[in-house]
Structure formats: C-alpha cells, structure tokens
Symmetry: C2
Subunit: 599 residues, 2 copies
C-alpha cells in the first residue's frame, strides 16, 4: 500500500522563506497565524490527511458510491467516520469567519490543507471542498437570515454544499439553462428541472445538503442574464431550525467514471412532485455573477488538485524508483542499481517535482493575493491583488491542472508495467487526475477567459503590471552571479510575453479567430513564464538560506530551479512560434475536409 | 455506441500517392498486390474490423478475462467466434509465407490490417499480434522441423504464440533472467521458472499456445549472453502431430489493469511438477538475439497501436464535436453551434489528426523498408533499408506510442465531462492506450537504444544518410511556391538535427550521463523532424493531385501539413534547447535532495 506524506516543509519554505508571511501580520487572520502556529496547524492537518484520509483512498476507488433504490447514495466504508473527524477537527471551517464558527485563518492556509486532503484522497475532499465554495457564495451574497441559517452549519460540516449548474443540454454554455423557478405566495420558489454532473449531489456524510441551484424566473430575459441563484436544502427546516420534511429533490442516477469513484457524480431531479422549495439568493437574474464566487473558489481548488495529485504521484514514483532494482548504471557500470540511477528515470522525477513546485508556488501566491484583496488596509494594494487574482485564476485552473495531469502520467511511466496494473495504486492517481483539466471549465474555456476577459477586455493592463513585477525577479537573478543564466532566460521570456501580448492586443479585434486558435498555447506560455518567475523566487530565497547554512534541502531547491529553467522554460520557444504562426493554419482549415477523409 | 471506420482511403493515399507502391512490383508479394488488389484487401479487412471486432471492444472492457480455478482463462463473450472468423479469413497469416499457408503479402499491408484491428479492438488484436511475432522469430531462427511443425498452425491461427521474457525481478534488464532449462536425454529441455506480464499467456481462442521462452542452460555464462530461446507448447504434440498431453505450464494469475481488460496479462509458471518440456531454438546462448526478432516485430506493432488507438480516439472526438451543440461562435456570434466551431476544439481535432497522419506515414515508411530489406534485389538498397529500419525502430515504438497516448488524452478533452464518464467509450480508449508507451520497452528504453546503439555505436552514419534523404523533401518543398515556408522550417530543423547529432557524438564518451539525460528529448526531436519530413511528403503528393483535381481531401492534406508545420514542428525549438542545456542540470542534481525535502 502506498503512503503519502504531506509536504509540510515545502509549504513552510514557501510561506516563510519565499513569501515572508510574517510581513502580513497586519491582516486579520494572519495576526493569529505566526509561522510557528502555521507549522503546528499544517503538521496536524497533514497528519490527519496521512492517517485518516489516505488509507481510505484505495477503498473509495474499489467500492465507489452506490445509489440505492430510494435515491439515497451510500459512500464507501469508512468515509462517514473520516468526515465526522474532519468536521470535528475544524478543518472544514478553517478559513470560515469566526462569527460563523470558523477558524478565521487565511485562505493561503486553507489552500495548503486543501492540497494535503486532495493529495491523500481527492474523491473524499470533493465533499468539504464544495461546502466551502457554497459557504463563500452565501457569505458574500446571501441575506443576513440566510447567512445565520446556513453558514455555521456549512462551516462546521454538519451540512454540506453543492453547485448545480450543468443540465443535460448545457455544460459550458449556461445561457441554455432551462430549470425553472416559480414564485410562491410565501416568498419562496418552486424549482423544477434536471441537473447533471452534480458532485456530492447526494450522500450520507452530512445531515443536510445545501444545493445552490441556477434557474430561471418566469419573466427572466433569455441567456445568461436571466439566471438566478437559489438555495435548495435537501431537508427543509422547521421554524425552530430543526430538520423538517424532505424537499422535492432526488438523485436519479450516478455516473460510472474513469476515476474519483468515491465522489458521486449525480443527476439531480428537482420538482418531480410539485416543485422543490428554493430561496432566492440576492437579486433576481444575477445568479451567474453570484455563482461565479463559488465557481472561482472551485476553480482555484481544482488548480490545487493539480499539484496535490501531482505530489501523490511523485511520492509514489520516487519510492518506486528507490525500491526497484533494475539494470546497469550507464556511467560507472555498476549492476543491479535502483532505477533512480538511470538518467531518464531521474529526469522524470525532477520533471514531476519541478512542475509541482512551480505550480504550487504560483497557486499559493494567488491565495495570498486573495487574502489581501479582502483584507489589505491599503485600498490600492487590495485592488491590485484583486486584479491579479482575476487575471491568473484561469492560469491556476488551466495550467496547474494540465501540469497535474502530466505529472500523474509521468508517474505511471516511472512504474513501467507495474504502473498499468491497478494493484500498485498509481493507476488510480492517474485516473482520478484525468478530470482535473475538464471540470469547472476545460482548459480551452480557461484560455478563452484569459485571452478574452482578462487580457483583451482591459487592454492587458494587469498583465503588463504583473510582467513588470516579474522583471524584478529577473533583475534579482541577474544580480546573483550563480543564477545569472536563469535571469537571462526569464528576461528573454518576459520579452516574448510582452511581444505576444502586443500581438494579441493588435489582432484581438480583426483576427479574433486566429487569436482564439492559439489561446491554449498562450495560457501555457503565461503559465510557464509564471512558473519561471516562481522558481526564480524560490532559487533566490533558497540561495540566501544556503549562505547561512549549507542545507541539502535548499541546495535541492536551487538545483530544482536550474532544472526548471533548462527543461521546462524552453517550452516558451516553441509556444511563441505556435502563437505567432499557428492561427491562420487553423482558421484557414476547412473543417469539411475532416469529414472528407474518406475518398 | 461509438463506431469506427477503417481509414482505408488515408492508407491508400499513402501507398498510392506518396509511396508509389506500384514501383515495387519487382518485389515478391508486391507483384501480386497492385493498388486495386490492395484497395480490395484493405476494404475487406477494414470491414471485418468495423463489423466484427469493434462491437466487441466495449464488451471486452466490461467483462475482461476470467481466470478459472484450473488455471484456464475465459475470454469475453464473442471473442472466440470473432477469432475464428479472423483466422478463417486468412487475416492472421496475411504476411506469412505462402509455403506455410500464409498470403505472402507485404509487411506494409499487414501493418495496415494491424492498424485497423488494433483501432477496432486493441485487446483482441493482441492475441494474433503475438502469434505473428512468434511466427517471425521461428521462421528466421527455427529448425526446418520447427518451421514445419509450428509455422502453418501459427499462420492459420489454429495455434497462437506468446513471448516470455519478464520475470518478477527483471523487466527491462533481461540479464537477470533465472528461468532454467535442463537438457534431457531425448534432446528436449525441462523448463522451470516464473514469467510475468505475459500477454495472452493463457486463453480459449486457439487450440494450442506456442510459448517462446527465454531461459538459461546449466552452463550458461551470466547476463544476457547466457540466455537461450525455447519453444514450449501448451499442449505437447503426439508423433502424428495431433495434440497430446498438457505441458507442465500453467497460468497462476492474471493482472487487474487500467485498460486492455480483454487481454489477459498472465503470470506463467513453468515446471511446477517436473519441468515443462521445451525445445531449443537455434544455438544455445543466442536467445536474446533471436527474441529480438519477435521483440522488434512487437515494438513495431506497438508503434502502430499508437496511431491506431489515436485514430479511434480521433473519430470518436470528431463525431462528438459535430453532435454536441454548445456555445456561441466567437467570430460570427451565431448561437448554439456544434463545438467543432470553437477554435480550440478544432485545434484539438487537427492536433489529433496531424499526429496520426505523421506517425502513420513514418511507420508505413518503415514497413516498406522492412519489406525491401528482405526482398530488394539490389543488395545495397536492402542493406540501406535494413539500417534505416534499425535506426528508426525505437522512434516508431517510442515516438508513435507517445503521440498515440497524447491523442487519446486530447480526445477525452474534446468530450469534456462526458469523456470522463465510462458510458461514452472514449475513456476506455484512453485507458487502453496508456500501456503503449510502456510495454515492449518504455520510451526511456527506446531513447537509450536510439542514442546508444543506433547513433553513438556507428558514429551516426545511418542517421546522417537519412538526414540527407530528408533534405531532398525540404528541397522539393522549397521549390513549390506555396510550400516554401514549410521547406524552410524543415531545412532549419534538419540543421538542428545535424548540430544535435554532432553534439551527441562529441559528448557520448566523456559526458555520457549528460547525453542520456536528454535521450528522450532527442527521441522526440528526431520523431518530430521525421514527422515533418513525412508531412512534407504528404503535402507534395496531395498538391500534385490538387492540380489535376480540386479535391477537398487533397486540400485537407495540404492544410493538415500546414497545421503540422505551425503547431507541431515548433517543438523542435524547445527540444533542442533542452538537449543543449538540460544534461548538466540533471546530472548535477544530487538525488539525495529528493529525499531531503522534509526539513
């Protein structure tokens, strides 16, 4: 059985040595979280994930969830107890406000706990993950009454949350939503419709399930501007707050999937009898805007799943590469060496670890901005952080997920034939990870969001500001003798980024099709350069530590950055050529030729 | 249920318009196969795969193989009948010699039939695929008696073959083999040992199974120079040739795998009672050399599986992209369009088709060389073809497999959430395809073979000759006005290939570790440039046809080549940087730092 060790020290290195988290102790939440406290919290959280969640990962894959004849869903053996422990430990409400019973800790800390939990048991962590998103949406747009009613229960984990967007005919294009909401005399609404792909739509872990549901009011305008958001609790509440009758909502099917078998992907039927009772959140027809709070929360969480699953895959592969004895050392001729001694196996391990560190650092940087956009006392700084979060959210979701998918695939390759066999467990990681680049908006959707809404719409102002900030790290690298070549690479790549951005701005109107044709390569370009920026930061921080203390860990970080700059950063050279030349070849291609391949 | 159409016309385009197969009618086998005959054979073969094999693909995945208490293995429902039809149709012996009951057709034709069968049902085609390899090895190194005894039965499919190399402690490093062969008075041997990962090691499709087994004689030298090859039939033969007693060989377990569930991956126990009766093939201690015939055959077949599965994945994705209505056309604003209208979806479809065509063309080019190395009346030409086959075999196995894996993954992405759900079938293609980059030698092993045995050992002579041949296509592209930019790209990339090759030659001794550190990037570099060479050939051939006849198919090929040159060929820019700079970053990395990541 494979084990998982939460990479607490990698996270502490980032928070302490790279991000200097102690500098933010003027922010609420951070004040209570000095580095010693954080270390204690992360260690305890990591231990919970290692000891409670990880052992259930395999069981979850094998057993999966079962839908019973009455529409209830039974989770795998052990999930109920683990969920209870997670809730009682306060892990679900880690970053929820203290007034609603949460721990009030920074989002950054919650991101780390999310990483550990997803790495240990991705399917399990879907349940609390969605609750957190529902909490976030209601905490911002719910009425006071709704906040009082739902937030403490969501923060404690007594109830859980879901996100109901997709319908059979509409996945990405939410303008097509057909689910109806009919106003009632008492101010509530009757919801009728079918939602598909609802993660944790029905299960037996929590006492109640709070569905956030997108639906249309009778007089709603067509398209996305006519969508409203409703709270539809599985069990309605009595006047005294106790659980009352079962609402008219039912899980009518669960999907058989390639992975995350322990997370039930439900088809939810609302209003089969006389309509499910729902309550409007905020104003009518602004549902999509509100749901975007939850969606962005989920998108960030999916980006985290990328390196979380990557870390699991990496740890498995590293352990196997030490254990597996095979072949001859090509350099010194020694026979029967562990396969980590073979250059290509070592290359794969570093390729995994470099991707994990780069994407983890980028995600935690965004998490830090998220905390500061809400709490920084300097409004200009808060606004800047908000813009950065918006700009990079599609990169976190799109790029970190793609990297996670790659890392999971490399792990199988390190295992060789044993990776394809289910017994070793790494195949499950690979199967589970495959959804990451898809749900909460595919990589293509993220890339369109990046190019259209985040770059073109504002004339790339935020991107240019971020580029300038990345230049500072390039300058610092150039100033450090042994990191100079990395500074040169980063500087040259930032030139490429500026040119490419200019190209997008210049062609975004008249040649929009050509620009969208290379949106995904652009997402990868920006992600890779952000990765170089982060690895440069890591190298600088680790190098500073090295001068005090010749620690092998810090040496390893400096060397990992060197690997990143010579193995990952070069992708920029090909991506910029694809972006420059690739549009017309795609746009000019007559798609009928694809159907005409049979003469 | 997804369907599959054998891409007969893509194959005919290659054979007729690009390779001009009619020029080889001086070779045996080709003489009987003019283009009309080939078209008829391929159409009929394609139809068999579409109508008989493809409908069993899903069933095979769901049912899998079952090992019974007596060690027998039951294949999924319908497999027996389909196998019987395949054998009776003469498809298994398509390229077997006529004197042993085969059809005597070129290897190139068999490659196409293999493609269709693997695409329709990869797991099913493993059974006859291995028989063909066993046939090949015995036809070259078997005694006359062995040939008479086994070849007709393998060619007819009445019996099937297997390949027994791997043991629990040795996968890649066959020098560690422990299975023993003890000489008997009657000239036979008693075989004792355990072999793992034996595809089709036991099943109920054929009347007998001919195991080719690597084992050590008592006086054998250690390592790979002490391995001999034995034929071990499942059922021994009576003097009159009828099937006699069951040999002392038994399937003791089958693996639970991520994919190809319908192909039993067996642990085979030889000699549990008093030794399995085996017969030496060729001379003692030359077993690995002989087995390489079968292994190269299998490696080629695995490369074919790459684009075969790719084609299936592509067809599924293309159909879905036409059917699935979602979102707004970003350019003309039309609502509710099929997703193929979204630039990124179209990009993914072309990315799939371009990879498939490039790798298919390269593989069939190698198949043509294989035919000519055996049959060309000009010994210099035969030798050249032999050298080219040897050089590119690791590229076919390594690079085509990697591309197939990528294509299968892209297909899931086109399907979005529905791709992750098992119901649509594309998830199975992805799971099945995952083994392709692993078995018969991982991509890393192929890359080491390429760099070590195929380039360094002979001072890159064959590679330089091939490079010069690729230059001719670059020149032809440069001479064609509308393909000039592609000629420039190919020429520049060939310069890169020459420089990189020189770098490998210059450093292969003193900096071997640095060279091996970038062996896989070099394999990708060579593969990508070979792909450009092939797509250039395709563009030139299609363009010539276009001048006669403005056919949308040929226009599609020209445009597909343009896509390849602007979306795939640019990878050369980053790969050459990785090759140039990446070695020391890997070699200099202290692997202990990977274990020291916990402070």
């Amino acid at each position: 059985m494979l084990s998982y060790k939460a990479p607490v020290d990698d996270v502490l290195f980032l928070l302490r040595d790279v991000f200097h988290i102690e500098r933010y102790d003027n922010l609420p939440g951070f004040a209570d979280a000095n580095i010693e406290t954080l270390a204690a919290i992360l260690s305890e959280g990591g231990k919970f994930c290692e000891e409670v969640l990880q052992p259930l990962n395999r069981v979850g894959d094998r057993e999966g969830c079962k839908r019973n004849a009455d529409g209830s869903v039974t989770t795998p053996k052990g999930f109920k107890e683990a969920y209870k422990q997670m809730a009682e430990g306060g892990w679900i409400g880690l970053s929820a406000e203290t007034e609603y019973g949460g721990q009030g800790l920074p989002h950054t800390v919650d991101a780390a706990m999310n990483e550990f939990a997803s790495a240990a048991n991705m399917a399990f962590n879907m349940y609390p993950g969605l609750s957190k998103g529902a909490y976030r949406a209601l905490s911002i747009h719910g009425s006071d009454e709704q906040k009082q009613k739902y937030l403490p229960k969501l923060a404690s984990g007594e109830w859980s949350g879901t996100m109901n967007l997709t319908e059979p005919h509409c996945g990405t294009d939410l303008g097509l939503i057909r689910t109806k909401a009919a106003p009632q005399q008492d101010g509530s609404y009757k919801i009728t419709g079918t939602k598909i792909f609802i993660s944790a739509g029905e299960h037996d872990l929590s006492k109640n399930i709070i569905h956030l549901v997108l639906a249309r009011l009778p007089d709603a305008p067509p398209g996305v501007k006519g969508i409203s958001l409703f709270v539809v609790p599985k069990s309605l509440l009595n006047a005294d707050g106790t659980l009352g009758m079962h609402n008219d909502v039912r899980c009518i099917a669960i999907e058989r999937k390639m992975g995350i078998h322990a997370s039930p992907t439900c088809t939810m039927s609302y209003g089969e009898r006389d309509g499910a009772v729902g309550f409007l959140v905020g104003e009518p027809n602004r549902g999509l805007e509100y749901m975007f709070i939850m969606m962005n929360d989920a998108r960030f969480g999916v980006g985290v799943q990328g390196f979380a699953l990557g870390e699991t895959a990496y740890q498995h592969a590293l352990a196997y590469a030490h254990e597996r004895i095979q072949g001859r050392d090509a350099v010194n001729g020694q026979n029967n060496v562990p396969i980590i001694r073979h250059p290509d196996v070592k290359r794969m391990l570093l390729a995994m670890r470099a991707r994990i560190m780069a994407s983890r650092m980028l995600a935690y940087t965004v998490a830090g901005w998220y905390d500061r956009m809400h709490h920084d006392p300097n409004p200009a700084m808060a606004t800047k952080c908000h813009r950065y979060v918006d700009l990079l959210m599609p990169v976190i979701k799109g790029w970190c997920a793609e990297l996670g998918n790659e890392v999971a695939d490399i792990a199988i390759q390190v295992f060789g034939g044993s990776g394809f066999v289910e017994e070793t467990g790494v195949a499950q990681v690979r199967r589970d990870a495959r959804i990451i680049t898809i749900y909460e908006g595919t990589t293509g959707i993220q890339a369109n969001d990046l190019v259209g809404r985040k770059v073109l719409r504002e004339g790339a102002q935020t991107l240019q500001r971020l580029t300038a900030e990345m230049r500072e790290i390039a300058d610092d690298l150039l100033a450090a003798e042994d990191l100079r070549s990395q500074g040169r690479v980063l500087n040259a790549d930032l030139d490429v980024l500026e040119q490419t951005t200019q190209w997008i701005l210049a062609n975004g109107q008249e040649r929009l099709a050509d620009v969208l044709a290379v949106a995904v390569p652009f997402l990868h370009l920006l992600g890779t350069i952000c990765g170089s920026w982060q690895m440069g930061r890591a190298a600088l921080a680790a190098r500073e530590k090295l001068t005090q203390d010749n620690d092998a860990y810090y040496r390893g970080i400096v060397d990992l950055a060197r690997f990143w700059f010579t193995h990952n950063a070069p992708q920029v050279s090909s991506l910029c050529r694809v972006i420059r030349d690739g549009g017309p070849a795609l746009t000019g291609f007559d798609p009928r030729a694809l159907d005409l391949q049979r003469l």
